[in-house]
C-alpha cells in the first residue's frame, strides 16, 4: 500500500548507482542543521558551504572543485550514523565532517574508522581523542574546548578580580556542561578562590530565579557559566533581577556578539577563541561581503566557525594533492598549519600527536556602557596544549 509504494520508490532511488564525481574532491558533513540545537550548528554548516562555493567559483584547488555534501541529522545519533554510512559507502567521501551534538560522535567515528576516513569536528565540541596523544583519524577546529576553557577563564578571573574571589558556577543539566563545571570547581581552590555554589539547571525551566537565588545567597561575587547560551544568559538575567552586583563570565557562543548589545551589562564578560566581528578585520569584511552576495540568512557574526573550517579544509586538500585518497588526506592533516587571518589568536597547527591545536588562544570581551560598544578586555592569551 502507500508505505510500501514509498518504500519501493526509495529503494529504487537508492539502488541506482550514484553518479561518481570524478574530477572533484568529495567531502561530507553530518550536522544538526535542524532540530533544537540547530541554532549553534546550522550557521557553521552554512558558512562552510559559503566558503566552498566561493572557492569553487574561484577555480577550486588547482582546477579541481570541492564537492561538499551536507546531511542533516537533527542531532539524533541514529540519523547521524545513517548519514555517515551513506556518505562513506555511497558517496565515497575523502573527509567526514561533524557539526552536531556530542551524542552523535561515537557512532560516526566508528563508521569512519572502519572506512579509514578522517573525521573533522567543526563547530561541534572537540572530543578528547583530538588532544595529545591524538587518534590518527580525528581532528577538530572548534573554538571551545573542555578543560582548557575553564583554565583560561579561571586564570582571567584571578587576574581581574579586585577582591578575594567567591565563585559560583552555573551549568545546564547536560553531561558536557556538568563535567566542565565539575572540572572548574576542582581547579578553583588551587587558584585561591572559594567555591560557594554550583547550579545545575534543567533545560526546560520556566523560571531561573530559584537557581539565581541560591547563587546570590551563597555570596558569590563571580559566577562562571559554561553551557549552551540560553542557560548562561538566563542565569545572568535572573541574577540581575535579584539585584546581584557581581561579575559574570560565560563562554562566547555564536550568539554572544548580538546578545552583548541587547543585555548592555558592563559586568558581563564573554571569553572566547574567535575574534568578534566588531573588530572589523579584513577577513571579517571578506566574510560579510561573501555572505551578502550569497544572501545567507544567518547574522554575519555567526559564520566564523564555519569559515575557519572551510580554511582548514582548503589547506588540507591542497596539501593532499591529486589524486586524493583518505590515507593521504589524513597524513596531510597530521602536519597541517593554517593561518586564520586574525579570526583566532594564532594559526591552527596540527601535529601527529595533537589534532586540536598546539596553542589555544583566548580573548575576553565585555560591553562598555560608556561607549555603547563591545570592548576588548584581554587580548590573546595563549595556552599550550599538551
Amino acid at each position: 500500500m502507500f508505505p510500501r509504494l514509498q518504500g519501493a520508490a526509495i529503494a529504487a532511488l537508492l539502488l541506482a548507482a550514484p553518479a561518481a564525481a570524478e574530477d572533484a574532491y568529495t567531502i561530507g558533513l553530518t550536522g544538526a542543521l535542524t532540530g533544537p540545537p540547530a541554532s549553534t550548528y546550522a550557521p557553521a554548516a552554512d558558512a562552510l558551504r559559503l566558503y566552498i562555493d566561493r572557492l569553487n567559483a574561484a577555480g577550486g584547488i588547482a582546477g579541481k572543485k570541492i564537492n561538499l555534501i551536507l546531511q542533516d541529522d537533527a542531532a539524533e545519533p541514529g540519523k547521524a550514523t545513517a548519514n555517515a554510512k551513506k556518505l562513506l559507502t555511497q558517496d565515497n567521501v575523502l573527509m567526514l565532517l561533524n557539526a552536531s551534538l556530542s551524542s552523535t560522535f561515537a557512532p560516526v567515528v566508528a563508521e569512519a574508522k572502519r572506512a579509514g576516513v578522517p573525521v573533522l569536528f567543526a563547530s561541534s565540541v572537540c572530543p578528547k581523542e583530538v588532544y595529545p596523544p591524538a587518534d590518527p583519524l580525528q581532528f577538530c577546529t572548534t573554538a571551545f574546548a573542555s578543560t582548557y576553557d575553564s583554565r583560561a577563564t579561571l586564570a582571567f578571573i584571578k587576574d581581574t578580580a579586585k577582591q578575594p574571589v567567591k565563585i559560583g558556577f552555573s551549568a545546564m543539566a547536560i553531561p558536557l556542561s556538568r563535567a566542565e563545571m565539575d572540572f572548574a570547581e576542582q581547579q578553583a581552590p588551587a587558584l585561591g578562590m572559594t567555591v560557594v555554589d554550583k547550579e545545575v539547571i534543567p533545560p526546560p525551566t520556566p523560571d531561573y530565579t530559584p537557581f539565581a537565588t541560591k547563587l546570590k545567597d551563597a555570596g558569590a561575587n563571580w559566577v562562571f557559566s559554561w553551557a549552551p547560551w540560553v542557560t548562561q544568559v538566563r542565569t545572568l538575567e535572573a541574577l540581575r533581577r535579584l539585584d546581584w552586583k557581581g561579575d559574570y563570565i560565560a563562554w562566547a557562543h555564536i550568539e554572544a556578539e548580538g546578545e552583548l548589545a541587547r543585555l548592555r551589562d558592563g559586568a558581563f564578560y564573554v571569553v572566547g577563541a574567535n575574534a568578534l566581528f566588531q573588530e572589523q578585520l579584513p577577513i571579517h569584511k571578506e566574510i560579510a561581503e561573501a555572505a551578502k552576495s550569497a544572501k545567507v540568512t544567518y547574522p554575519v557574526e555567526q559564520l566564523t566557525e564555519g569559515w575557519i573550517a572551510g580554511m582548514v579544509v582548503e589547506a588540507a586538500l591542497k596539501a593532499t594533492g591529486w589524486p586524493a585518497t583518505p590515507e593521504k588526506l589524513a597524513a596531510a592533516m597530521s602536519t597541517l598549519k593554517v593561518d586564520t587571518k586574525g579570526l583566532r589568536g594564532g594559526p591552527i597547527e596540527w601535529t601527529k600527536d595533537n589534532h586540536f591545536r598546539t596553542r589555544q588562544y583566548y580573548r575576553v570581551y565585555r560591553w562598555d556602557s560608556g561607549k555603547s560598544a563591545i570592548q576588548l578586555v584581554k587580548d590573546w592569551t595563549a595556552f599550550d596544549v599538551k
Partner: protein
C-alpha cells in the same frame, strides 16, 4: 482470534488446525515468499538500505511490544522511550562496568524491563485510560534522569561506547550480519506475540479490553493479566533497547526523548490497533517517513533552501499524518487494507449481507 476463511476447501478437523498461524496454502506461500525476499535483500541492496531495514526491524520489535500492551490488553502507555532507554543503559552499564558479554547483558536488560513493567504496571490496577497514560509519562523522565546521572557521575559525558557483541568468538560488525540478527529477533518477537495471543493470555486480554468488570466476573484474574501484559511488553522493549545499544555501538540519554514515545504510539495507531501486522506496517511507515519527506522535498525544492527546515517539516508532516489517520481512518493502515480487501472480496456487492454469511 477469529480468522475469516479466505478460501473454501479448508476443513478443520481438530483444534490444532483451528489455531494454526498459517491456515491456507496462500498464507504459507506468502510467508515463504516474504522470507525469501527479506533474506535476499542484503545481497542486492546498498548499505544504506540495509541499515534502513535494520532500523525498521528494531522498530518492529518495540512496536509489537507496544501493540501487545495497548492494542490488545488495552493499557495505554506513553513511556516506551523510557523502557528502550532502560534496556540500552543496562547493556551500556553492564558492558562498561563489568565487561559483561552479550548473553548476560540482554537477559539482564529483559529483567530490568520486566521490573520496570511491574513498577509502572501497578498504577494500571487502580486507574485506567487517560490517567494510566499520564502515569507512564513519568517513566520517560525518570529513566532520563537516572541515565543522565550515570553519564555524568561516571564521566561519560558524551555517551557510553559499547563494543559490538561477539558471537562464537567473532565480533559482529558487518551490516549484513546485523540485518540477519535483527530480522531473526523481529521474527522471534512476532512469533512470541502471536503465540501469546493465541493462548489463554490473549483471550484474557481481549476480555479485559472489552469490559473489565465482566472479565472479572468471568473469573479472569484481571490484575495478574494486566501486570503480565506490562511485564512482557516492557521486557521485550528493553531487549529492543539493548539491541539498539549494540547496533549503534553507543548509548546516550539524548536519543530517548518523549518524541520517541510518541513515535511508537503513532506506529500502532497508524498501523492499526489490535493487529500485529498493523504494528509491523506502522513501524515501517514511521521509520521510513522522514526519508520519504526528505526525498520529496529534494524533488520539489532546491537542497539548500530546505536543509534548514527539514526537521521542522518532518515534525509538522508527522503530526499532520497522525491527525489524518486519527480523524479519517482510526483503524490505521490495516483498516485501509481490510477495506481494500473487502472491496475486492465483495465485488460487485458493496456491503456484507445482513446476517447469514457474516462471521
Amino acid at each position: 482470534m477469529s480468522r475469516r476463511p479466505r478460501a473454501s476447501g479448508y476443513f478443520r478437523t481438530d483444534y490444532g488446525e483451528d489455531l494454526t498461524l498459517l491456515p491456507t496454502r496462500l498464507a504459507r506461500f506468502a510467508v515463504l515468499g516474504a522470507l525469501v525476499i527479506l533474506l535476499a535483500l542484503p545481497l542486492l541492496a546498498s548499505p544504506f538500505l540495509i541499515d534502513l531495514a535494520a532500523q525498521v526491524f528494531l522498530a518492529v520489535i518495540g512496536a509489537l511490544a507496544l501493540m501487545l500492551l495497548t492494542g490488545y490488553a488495552g493499557q495505554v502507555s506513553l513511556g516506551h522511550a523510557g523502557l528502550l532507554a532502560a534496556g540500552a543503559f543496562t547493556v551500556g552499564i553492564l558492558f562498561k562496568e563489568l565487561k559483561a558479554p552479550v548473553f548476560v547483558t540482554l537477559p539482564a536488560a529483559a529483567a530490568v524491563g520486566a521490573l520496570l513493567g511491574v513498577v509502572f504496571g501497578l498504577p494500571s490496577l487502580r486507574v485506567r485510560g487517560l490517567y494510566l497514560a499520564v502515569s507512564t509519562l513519568a517513566l520517560n523522565f525518570l529513566v532520563a534522569y537516572l541515565g543522565g546521572e550515570y553519564e555524568t557521575r561516571r564521566g561519560f559525558s558524551t555517551g557510553i561506547v559499547v563494543d559490538p557483541p561477539s558471537l562464537a568468538g567473532k565480533a559482529v560488525t558487518d551490516a549484513r550480519a546485523w540485518y540477519v540478527i535483527l530480522l531473526a529477533a523481529a521474527v522471534a518477537t512476532l512469533l512470541l506475540c502471536a503465540n501469546l495471543l493465541r493462548a489463554r493470555s490473549g483471550r484474557a486480554w481481549a476480555a479485559i479490553r472489552a469490559n473489565e468488570t465482566v472479565a472479572q466476573t468471568l473469573g479472569i484474574g484481571v490484575a495478574s493479566y494486566k501486570l503480565l501484559a506490562f511485564v512482557i511488553s516492557s521486557a521485550l522493549t528493553a531487549v529492543a533497547g539493548g539491541l539498539f545499544a549494540y547496533y549503534r555501538g553507543f548509548v546516550s540519554v539524548e536519543a530517548f526523548s518523549l518524541f520517541l514515545s510518541i513515535q511508537y504510539v503513532a506506529m500502532i495507531i497508524i498501523g492499526g490497533m489490535g493487529s500485529l501486522a498493523g504494528a509491523i506496517l506502522g513501524a515501517l511507515f514511521v521509520t521510513l517517513f522522514p526519508y520519504a519527506i526528505e526525498a520529496s522535498l529534494a524533488a520539489l525544492v532546491s537542497p539548500t533552501a530546505y536543509a534548514g527546515l527539514l526537521f521542522a517539516v518532518n515534525a509538522a508532516a508527522f503530526g499532520a499524518v497522525m491527525i489524518l489517520f486519527l480523524l479519517l481512518e482510526p483503524q490505521g493502515l490495516i483498516g485501509l487494507w481490510r477495506r481494500l480487501q473487502s472491496y475486492f472480496l465483495l465485488w460487485p456487492f458493496r456491503h456484507r449481507p445482513v446476517g447469514g454469511a457474516r462471521r
